[in-house]
Symmetry: C2
Subunit: 142 residues, 2 copies
DNA sequence: TTCTTTATTGCAAATCAATTGCACTTATAG
DNA sequence: CTATAAGTGCAATTGATTTGCAATAAAGAA
């Protein structure tokens, strides 16, 4: 069983991606690790409680996104949300249209939908990721 | 065969949704009708070429979105995109991670994925829509 | 360890999409 | 034709995200 979420592990993860393992990035990754659901920059900032500057959070998330270490989740109405990608199953989200409440959803796909999608494209070389988000009303808002 | 995209049809569509059929809204819907792919507010504004104020475009899109006449599409990296929902098949999108190029994708789903998703939720009353977007690189950017 | 290079950070300022207040206009029901 | 509430346009504001630049620090080399 592999250790998870340690700063050492994140140091390696960052370096393997060609990024410097700075304390701020490790703290950021630890925040994302603790939270199963996607967070906004503002929520991340609060959880980091002044330990990392807001601009640095933006820039780190951008670097981590490009390195595929974090995912950028796009939910209607809202600003970008981020969640840890490294070491997690690909999953989907259910979003309340009224209050923005989020739940994770796991759906076993018999067929990778990217393949099916590729058959239909005209000018794409490849499609390697997809996002599937569900919308409705949560029990509180219904 | 039904007439499509006429101002008369849109007048009815708007009134049925409890909205006033103003010239600006009809022009906006005609712009969306002509375009098969989702547009940003800025693109819509350009196509309306000064005939409708930017603030009105925002407010109209909001009203049309709530009335389910237009869809708000969420693609990574970008601002909101809008496309006509009324009278169109539910479809998905392929987005180039580099240049933002978009294609529409149609995937026949044997099972409505909302049902499967509902089985997994804890605090949702219902999930009635979903979005499925694919990401990759287009031939030009690869 | 110390040095050197270059990525990263933090601050202030700027940018830009999106929203709001308010007075004016207009669609529509009666 | 009139009344009224919805919709519009303008100016100003908000708030997330980005950028320039000087200071700092990570990582490899010596």
């Amino acid at each position: 069983m592999k250790a998870s979420g340690t700063s050492i592990e994140y140091t390696d993860l960052l370096r393997d991606a060609g990024l410097r393992a700075t304390p701020g990035r490790i703290l950021l990754l630890q925040v994302l690790e603790r939270e199963p659901k996607p967070l906004t920059v503002y929520q991340i900032e609060k959880k980091l409680d002044g330990k990392v500057n807001q601009v640095t959070i933006y820039r780190s998330l951008d670097a981590l996104y490009k390195a595929q270490i974090v995912k950028r989740v796009n939910l209607e109405h809202d600003h970008a949300h981020f969640e840890l990608a490294a070491g997690r199953e690909h999953h989907h989200h259910a979003v309340c249209r009224n209050c923005g409440y989020i739940e994770n959803i796991e759906i076993p796909h018999a067929v990778k939908p990217e393949r099916e999608a590729m058959k239909q494209t005209e000018r794409f070389s490849f499609l390697d990721t997809y996002s599937l988000e569900f919308f409705g009303l949560c029990k509180k808002c219904d």
